[in-house]
Structure formats: structure tokens, C-alpha cells
């Protein structure tokens, strides 16, 4: 097994302990729920979309440090972005957690590169992102990490 300090980077611990944009967003006009049935991880993402941009975003839920930190960081990444930009950021994030290769220009999300050595945890890292993308698509149905998504 790789060293756990590769998985539990400082950035991840920090977001887990002090999550950003955590809680319900009363002004949300898009909401989606994500879950990970085997783990029991849950994540709700609340968006207020104005025009084609994400004006406000928050999340709540429960799960391991990886899933909570990833959802927290995700909210900081896609706030102010369009759906297409958010999708692109997710693709970059997905590449990081599945290949372990973090592009140099990306800072905090690079902390998730260590996840790739723990395949069982990739679905934890992507849970919040799936919920966010579903919310953007206006699909309130559960994003589950255990079908075609990962």
C-alpha cells in the first residue's frame, strides 16, 4: 500500500476539518443528491444558477474525509463557472484521481492525486462532483457512484 500521507494530504485534512460552503443554500434553484450505497456516503449539492453561471453553491452530507474534502474543494472550484467550465474542471479532477498525475498549474485539486493508488476511494472523491453536475443538468435524481459513473 502507498503511504497514507499521499492520500490524506494537508489540503484534504484542512477541507475535511473546515469545510467551505457547507450547509443548505436557502436561495438555491438547483439541488441534487449523490450517494454511494456501499459506503453510505451522502452528498447534497445546492446551486443558485444565474444566467449561465453558478452564482452560489453549497453542499451538505456525510462521509469519509476524502468525500467531504472533495465536495468542499469542488464548491470553491466551480463557483462562478458555467456548466461547460464545471464539466471541464470535473474532467481534469477525474484525470487526477484516476491517473495520479496532477498538472502543475492546478494547485489544491492536485492534492487528490494520491487517491489513484486507492481505487476503492475514487468514488468517494468524485461523489460531490457527480451531484454538482447533476444539479447543473437540472437532474435532481440521485447521482450514484456505483453504476456507470466514476
Amino acid at each position: 500500500m502507498s503511504d497514507l500521507s499521499d492520500l490524506y494530504q494537508q489540503v484534504i485534512l484542512d477541507h475535511n476539518k473546515r469545510p467551505r460552503n457547507r450547509g443548505r443554500l436557502p436561495t438555491a434553484n438547483r439541488v441534487a443528491h449523490g450517494d454511494n450505497p456501499t459506503c453510505g456516503d451522502q452528498c447534497n449539492v445546492y446551486l443558485r444558477v444565474e444566467g449561465d453561471r453558478i452564482a452560489e453553491i453549497s453542499f451538505d452530507g456525510s462521509g469519509c474525509a476524502i468525500s467531504q474534502a472533495s465536495a468542499s474543494l469542488m464548491t470553491t472550484q466551480i463557483k462562478g463557472k458555467t456548466a461547460a467550465e464545471a464539466e471541464k474542471l470535473y474532467q481534469e479532477f477525474h484525470n487526477i484521481v484516476t491517473t495520479g498525475k496532477a498538472p502543475e498549474e492546478i494547485s489544491d485539486v492536485g492534492a487528490f492525486a494520491g487517491v489513484h493508488a486507492f481505487p476503492a476511494r475514487i468514488k468517494c472523491a468524485t461523489l460531490g462532483w457527480h451531484a454538482a453536475l447533476n444539479a447543473l443538468k437540472g437532474d435532481p435524481a440521485s447521482a450514484t457512484t456505483e453504476s456507470h459513473l466514476d
Binding site: L4, T38, G40, S62, G63, C64, A65, I66
Partner: protein, 410 residues
């Protein structure tokens, strides 16, 4: 008394390193390791006796049939059933309970009837009843759990165990709380209102003496793989009078006495409930598991596992912020597991870190989602013990947890 220090030598899987540390296997409530004698019984069966059972007139088929039916008799003796015909081989506890729910429930339940369960049931003793309730119009009702001390709220039993209750299904030992339920009393109380009883014995069967006639239950379900047996084999014990009155639940070869184009007649129990080629090889190996556990002595195993749970409970209770589930050992005897949670560290992070120290734990809802929700938990971390675990391994666990708490506090 068994020599516990040499018991470990019987289990080849224990002798390995995980992440550079000697394996500390504390995931026995999920599945137990297998002693060499059980592994050998299985491979010898395949090497010498393998042949399909029943109707066979050649030497190997007769040997195989004798071994399979011998295993049935062995298991009947293991739980003190009145006759081997009361032992039905299944894939495991889940299939056993599905069999009772579908066959007995399908034939006997109707709208207005009540199925009584407890709040601590594993999904395997919950979902099959939801399915049959939907099919028959019967209603589900629950005997509550008191709280973190994980006891059934017996003071409320009279209120929920009413004459509308046709079946009362409950676990012998809770897989997430470690509570040993007063099954004999529950069966006696159910009998008074005319309800049949179904016991989920998955966590009890390999860990304590089980005498189905002394308990007085109608059905008792268990799995082989949690009692030092192989996977893929389990048992449904049922009282013969009930089994003989039940319709088949799967159709196929081996369970019929006569088949016509438009209708068939069934064999009596147990064949009626064993359609198709049964899992005879794993059944034979399960017989060897019974021999192994009886040689150690199940009363001794209960003492050993309960003592490990007591030591673990007490040592873990010194960790800051820990929330321990199930009855305190000072309150009542526990099954061989401890389940705990921390407010700030998720169970899956704990399991990942413990694995780095070679410790196998399980984290999550343990197929007890409704109970976890009731207790306001998203899951727990569980350490579960078996005959080969030692007090030293509990020290390794405590040390590992101290390291994890420090890391996440940092």
C-alpha cells in the same frame, strides 16, 4: 479447555503480513477464516468423492450422497434439531430467511396480519419481510431498540406482540451492537399469541452453543462462512410440522415426487426445498466445521469471544471522544464484537488507516441502515473476534486508533 495459543496454527490465512505488519484479522462478523481441516475436507471431497447426489447408482454418487446426508445429520445434531429432515441447505442466512418469508409467508400471511421485527435487524431479516408484506398486504411492526446500549425494549414487547402478529423474526446476536438477545423468552412470548418465530442466527451459530429445541423457535437461519465454514452454504432449520405444510419456493429437479405436463407433486422436506443440484461439497465441508467447533467446545468459544469483547470494550472506552455501542460488559454478556464511532473521524478513514497497520476492520452501516439512522449515526467501525484472536491484538488495535485520532486531530 482449548489451548487458544495453538488455535491460530489451524488457520493458514492468519499467517501473513499485511502492509508489512502481521495480519490482525478483526472482521469475523463479516466472514471468519477457515481451519486447514475444513479446507482439506473440501479439497478431499473434490479429489475423491465428487459426484451428483441422489438417484445415483454408481459408487461415487453413493459416496457423495452419504457424505451430503451425513452432513445434514451432523448439523441436525449440532443445533439439536429433532431430525435431519429439519435441516434445509441454502446459500446462507439471507436465502434461508427469504425461503421462510416467501414460502411460509406467502401461504399464511394476509391483509390485517402483522410481521413483527426488531429495530436491530440486519437487512437480510428485514427486506425479505418487506417483500412478502407488499405481496400479501401484511403490515410490518418493530420492537424498538433502547438506544446506544443496544437492548431490545422488552418493556414494550406486550404492546407490539399482539394477536395480529403472525410471525416474529429477530436476531440472536446483533451484528452491529454485539447484543445477545433473550431468544428463549422471545420465543415463549410469541408462542402465547400464536406467532411463529424466525431467528437470524448468523452471528450466534459459530460463537455459542445453540439448541433450537431448548430455545423453542420455529425457524433458525445461519451461514456456514461465519462459523469457520466455507462460503456458499447455509442452513434453514424449521420445525418439521411447519416445513411439511409449506409449499415449495423454487421448482426444479430433486424436489418432486412426480411431474406431469400440467402439474407436479412435491417430495417431503427437506428435498422439497432443495430444487436443483444442491451445494453438496460445501455442505460436507460444513460438517467438518461443526466437528472443529465442537472439539474446541462452543461454551468455551463463547467465553473466549465474550472475554475479548469485554477487554476491547474497556480498553477502547479510554479513547477520547469514543462512542461505544451495545450493552456495557458490566451490564450484560456481549457477543464477540465491538462497534464504535467518533464524531470527527469517519469509519472508512479509520478502516483505511488500520489497514496500514495490518488490521482488518469493517466500517459503515453494517446492513443496519434503519438502526444507524435511529441512533443518529452514518456508520460505525466494528472489530469482531473469533477463536484465534488474542488480547495482544486488541492492544495493537488500540495503539493504531490512538495514532489515527492523533493524525486527524493534528
Amino acid at each position: 479447555m482449548p489451548s487458544w495459543s495453538t488455535v491460530r496454527d489451524d488457520f493458514p490465512a492468519l499467517h501473513q503480513k499485511v502492509n508489512g505488519h502481521p495480519l490482525v484479522y478483526l472482521d469475523n462478523a463479516a466472514t471468519a477464516q477457515k481451519p486447514q481441516v475444513v479446507i482439506d475436507t473440501l479439497s478431499h471431497f473434490y479429489e475423491r468423492d465428487n459426484s451428483n447426489v441422489h438417484r445415483g447408482l454408481h459408487a461415487l454418487s453413493m459416496r457423495s450422497t452419504d457424505a451430503y446426508e451425513g452432513a445434514r445429520s451432523r448439523i441436525a445434531k449440532f443445533i439439536n434439531a429433532a431430525a435431519p429432515e429439519e435441516i434445509i441447505f441454502t446459500r446462507g442466512t439471507t436465502e434461508s430467511i427469504n425461503l421462510v418469508a416467501a414460502s411460509w409467508g406467502g401461504a399464511n400471511l394476509k391483509a390485517g396480519d402483522v410481521i413483527l421485527l426488531t429495530e436491530m435487524e440486519h437487512h437480510s431479516n428485514l427486506v425479505p419481510w418487506q417483500l412478502i408484506a407488499k405481496r400479501t398486504g401484511a403490515k410490518l411492526r418493530y420492537l424498538p431498540v433502547t438506544g446506544d446500549d443496544g437492548l431490545l425494549d422488552l418493556a414494550r414487547l406486550d404492546r407490539v406482540l399482539t394477536p395480529e402478529v403472525k410471525v416474529f423474526a429477530f436476531t440472536h446476536i446483533s451484528n452491529s451492537l454485539g447484543t445477545i438477545n433473550p431468544v428463549t423468552e422471545l420465543c415463549a412470548r410469541a408462542k402465547k399469541v400464536g406467532a411463529i418465530t424466525v431467528i437470524d442466527g448468523a452471528q450466534a451459530i459459530g460463537h455459542m452453543p445453540v439448541d433450537v429445541r431448548a430455545v423453542g423457535c420455529d425457524f433458525y437461519a445461519f451461514s456456514g462462512h461465519k462459523m469457520a465454514g466455507v462460503t456458499g452454504i447455509g442452513v434453514l432449520y424449521g420445525r418439521r410440522a411447519l416445513l411439511d405444510a409449506m409449499p415449495p419456493w423454487q421448482g426444479g429437479g430433486g424436489m418432486i415426487s412426480n411431474v406431469d405436463f400440467f402439474e407436479s407433486r412435491w417430495k417431503p422436506t427437506p428435498e422439497r426445498f432443495e430444487a436443483g443440484t444442491p451445494n453438496f461439497a460445501d455442505a460436507v465441508a460444513l460438517g467438518a466445521s461443526c466437528d472443529y467447533l465442537d472439539a474446541l467446545g462452543r461454551d468455551q468459544i463463547q467465553k473466549h469471544d465474550g472475554e475479548l469483547a469485554r477487554v476491547a470494550y474497556e480498553k477502547l472506552s479510554t479513547l477520547p471522544g469514543i462512542r461505544l455501542l451495545g450493552p456495557a460488559p458490566s451490564q450484560q454478556e456481549r457477543g464477540g464484537l465491538v462497534s464504535f464511532a467518533f464524531a470527527d473521524v469517519h469509519a472508512h478513514d479509520i478502516v483505511t488507516f488500520a489497514d496500514e497497520d495490518g488490521i482488518a476492520l469493517r466500517g459503515g452501516h453494517h446492513c443496519n441502515q434503519p438502526l444507524m439512522r435511529k441512533l443518529g449515526l452514518t456508520g460505525t467501525t466494528r472489530a469482531s473476534f473469533y477463536v484465534y484472536n488474542t488480547p495482544e491484538e486488541i492492544d495493537v488495535l488500540v495503539k493504531s486508533l490512538q495514532r489515527i485520532l492523533k493524525f486527524f486531530a493534528g
